[in-house]
Assembly symmetry: C2
Homo-oligomer: 662 residues x 2
Amino acid sequence: MSHPLDLDTLPPMANAIRALSMDAVQRANSGHPGMPMGMADAATVLWARHLKFDPADVTWPDRDRFVLSAGHGSMLIYSLLHLVGVEAVTLEELKNFRQLGSKTAGHPEYGHCPGVETTTGPLGQGISTAVGMALAERLLNARFGDDLVDHRTWVIASDGDLQEGISHEAISLAGHLKLSKLIVLWDDNEISIDGDTNLSDSVDHRARFEAAGWKVLDCDGHDMKAIDKALDAAKTSDRPVMIDVRTVIGYGAPNKQGTAATHGAPLGADEIAAAREALGWEHGPFEIPDDILARWRSVGDLSAQERKRWQDRLEACGSKGAFEAQLSLTPPPAALDALRAYTARIAAEKPALASRAASGNTLNAIAEAFPGLVGGSADLTGSNLTKAKSQGVVTADDFSGSYIHYGIREHAMAAAMNGMSLHGGIRPYGGTFLIFSDYCRPAVRLSALMNQPVIYVFTHDSIGLGEDGPTHQPVEHLSALRAMPNVQTFRPCDALETAEAWACALERTDGPTTLALSRQKLPHLREDDGSANLSARGAYVLREAEGGKPQIVLIATGSEVELAVKAQEMLAEKGVRARVVSAPCLERFLAEDRDYRESVVPAGLPKVAVEAAARWGWDGLIGIEGGFVGMDGFGASAPAEELYAHFAITAERVAEEALKRV
Amino acid sequence: MSHPLDLDTLPPMANAIRALSMDAVQRANSGHPGMPMGMADAATVLWARHLKFDPADVTWPDRDRFVLSAGHGSMLIYSLLHLVGVEAVTLEELKNFRQLGSKTAGHPEYGHCPGVETTTGPLGQGISTAVGMALAERLLNARFGDDLVDHRTWVIASDGDLQEGISHEAISLAGHLKLSKLIVLWDDNEISIDGDTNLSDSVDHRARFEAAGWKVLDCDGHDMKAIDKALDAAKTSDRPVMIDVRTVIGYGAPNKQGTAATHGAPLGADEIAAAREALGWEHGPFEIPDDILARWRSVGDLSAQERKRWQDRLEACGSKGAFEAQLSLTPPPAALDALRAYTARIAAEKPALASRAASGNTLNAIAEAFPGLVGGSADLTGSNLTKAKSQGVVTADDFSGSYIHYGIREHAMAAAMNGMSLHGGIRPYGGTFLIFSDYCRPAVRLSALMNQPVIYVFTHDSIGLGEDGPTHQPVEHLSALRAMPNVQTFRPCDALETAEAWACALERTDGPTTLALSRQKLPHLREDDGSANLSARGAYVLREAEGGKPQIVLIATGSEVELAVKAQEMLAEKGVRARVVSAPCLERFLAEDRDYRESVVPAGLPKVAVEAAARWGWDGLIGIEGGFVGMDGFGASAPAEELYAHFAITAERVAEEALKRV
């Protein structure tokens, strides 16, 4: 077939979603039937008549992105993927909904279930991640034109998504950048977990989206024609679009629909039977009649043809190589060459720089040769030093740049970076102060869970930021980031380690990297030529003890490595042989093999660590009896040098703690 | 004097703020002059003619609250506090702006500088905390009437405050509850750190506040009469009010005003001289002429009279005792009695309950006897089990209840709880899933930094929540909370420990407590009568080894204590004597004296810990060579029992790790 399905053929197709959803939740005895049943009609119209999506190639670069921000309604997307014929999503998988090892996890998980574009469930994340996808589309469109990049990002969002604060940041950013190919279907069912949304919410969400620069439409979510008309209208907007889709949660379950009872629990056998009756659905559990399945299986046909035409255009255009290189996760060889050349140069020049400044220099060295690298900051560009000179600023009128003023929106920045990374073709990094890693932590966690190589540039990484005081001085943040699975946190000690940290971050393809960088100037400590990336294994011997085997190991990170080096000298004067270990990335070092770890930090030697942060987590390296020079509580407001003295984070103290232990 | 100052006497008073602000920032060579200079006029009108505030008694319960949400402009509030005559804020303190030990820290800090109502600086927190203050006012007003409780909460907020996601949550909540005594002055200066706000923001903030149910006014921020009129109008609203105060950042600095250059750096000697000239301010640095100072010192007079009349009403009314009891941080004796009686009962009954259910039962036991206890949940009431049967729901029409449906707004909930706690008279607790502690982490940190005894009820505390999968299963969150200074995290193992954790949380007055509670049912493990709170010291011997001295210590928390107990039995069968330590609060235990710690977890014995979470931080107790049975990475979606088996968090594994070490 070569035209979309007629609207009047869609209702039974929507009922197939309803049936699969209530049956799967019932079988799992766990899950959320209300949302898929409520949005089945809208989703059917969207998928059958609007979404550009080829079930045979779920990673086709120019496909539309579909984001189920209301991730608890996961049976909606699993039903859709199965019905349209994504091979991996078998009926068996639906039957194994929420079971160990199935692709049909409780919430849709990227990388786990083919066709799921992003992991959702934590509310507000999907819609915000989608902003990044829509932004990536515009960025790549500006580089490669409509022939290669021209697709939409569709979102189904719940009341919960819209109540979360991150949604404000995300829709403001999308409105500001006029991301007109972003279309959000708000499942306006007036129900949240606690009951009617009016228990807690009186916001006029339509007015609110308009205030953020969006076009707002509405439709009855159970009127196929009205839905179709709204989707058509949305596609012609010059701004992002929010469609207020008025639905009845659990639509079809006669005794429970429209109530919170359908939200998060199985309907029960009786109500399911009643729903079958009410919907006129005469088929058994997990049974989809052939004609309805055939209709569903046909909906990808048009897109498949489009994909073939796209493939032809790709082959024919002159930029296939550049396009594919941009989509690659690996940085361009020219950028890596530039990074190596820069690294060699600073190894020779030994500049004394704040590591945030060293990071800025690193970016200046590589940005021009790395078209996929897209930077930004949450309104701290001049402090984070995240903007390379060659980077143009992205605006609503011009997406050819590669630097984004995210505004004071740390959380949406992080989520948008996830979206850009998931979209492909963009390697995003973004800056804020380390203290504000807390503001974006839920999105950092999703970077980690989804294995996305997003780079977080967290400057002002300790009391070393000085006068701004305890509200701005991270103490526990390094520990809290290190605690998070699949995050690698680098805290480089000088310009060379900063370049190495960037190399590690850029070469990493399976998870996020955070860079903790100093506001204050740091001396250059490395004496080698920088040809081997010593930071890559997480820790290494920076200064070996002189005059014999070491008696103690001093371990430090970032701005405190300088203190360890000074303490080594003080100890040497007292005849004590100390080894100085720089540990820019504890996660990497602790994941190294025992031999390497032992060669750097021998179990048999006493240890003192110094880091202007909480001890929490350090005992794994230094042991309970190890010395720790750091922070016991919150910081204070004063010039940085005075704070270091006040909190006794000094070379003298490191030496003292060492002397106690030899 | 007995009437407010005339408007035409105010301009030089405002210039005094400008002069002090630019001089103090210059002297500190650090700080933010632009905001105080821009908002000096509005702040002067507010303080001189509207704010109810007695400099002689900055903690008078019925004072208006003033929140400088734009905390970076701290010299504004320090100038005001000094000028109106708050004794502690001397001229010397202003000269020591941002210096070690001064009251005038870089950002205003509660408990550090008298008259500062809440710590601000992390953007969005002030305005959201203020929502809690305004809510507390209504709650207490409903209990004690206008005679004792009738005051406003005034906020100065910046563009940054309004861009942050938390602001959406907070203004939605305030609009929903029609907190009409909350008045926000938006410093609409069109400048953020990166430059013009139009670099990143196109939101119509006025429309947005209207969409959230606010009344919106506007005025020229440099026209005293217009400001005064707006403030007057704001005071008669039946909804919260946002005043769009259009200002010029750095107003008065002729060459830099209106630009980001005035935002976060000293103006420099030349520009300060030029500003003195432009403002007609002929006085030296930190010099306030007597007549202007006298005018400022008079502004508290009216309020002081009001305070005296309030004091008379308090003495005269019949509810003085109840009012003062409600303001006390200590729980009412009747509530503590009820808690003790409940504790004794469950010690005898030994119910097998999910700890979230045990928490709900505890609340049911005490809520009625504790009028200041105000609960709520971020739309997870039925899951968090945070609502006691006796608690009425707070609505815009009726503030006599004590349970708040916060909506899907974890971050604003936490900030509002800070505000209620700071306001006084309310002991707030609020619930969400432990995973979403990340969503409210910046506000949790402020609870800790401000020493506020806010109680966080975090349920669904591990993979034990089952099918919802890794997006909902906390792994690193316990560690991340424990890493935060001044937070105490309890993870009770049964109903008795849950009651004890609540007792600890309620008795704590100097910081927040988080309760990590299970979704799944837990056996009752305690065999004592509950008369001594064994959880209070953080860890204790739950089951001593039988038949001789222990050979190994098994340490566990929460739902995994059961596994340690079973492992002890398995080990006993093999002739190995293991001690089981329950460690509901690691922070408390690690802060105990060495003798106690040694008596529970002897240094000389091998250790195995079990917690269905990340190891990060545990080494401080069990050592590097200790065994740890927990999570190495993210969770998965499946029934809970299967997940425990899948991740090998089992009694068998605990026994195995123990056997390796004896």
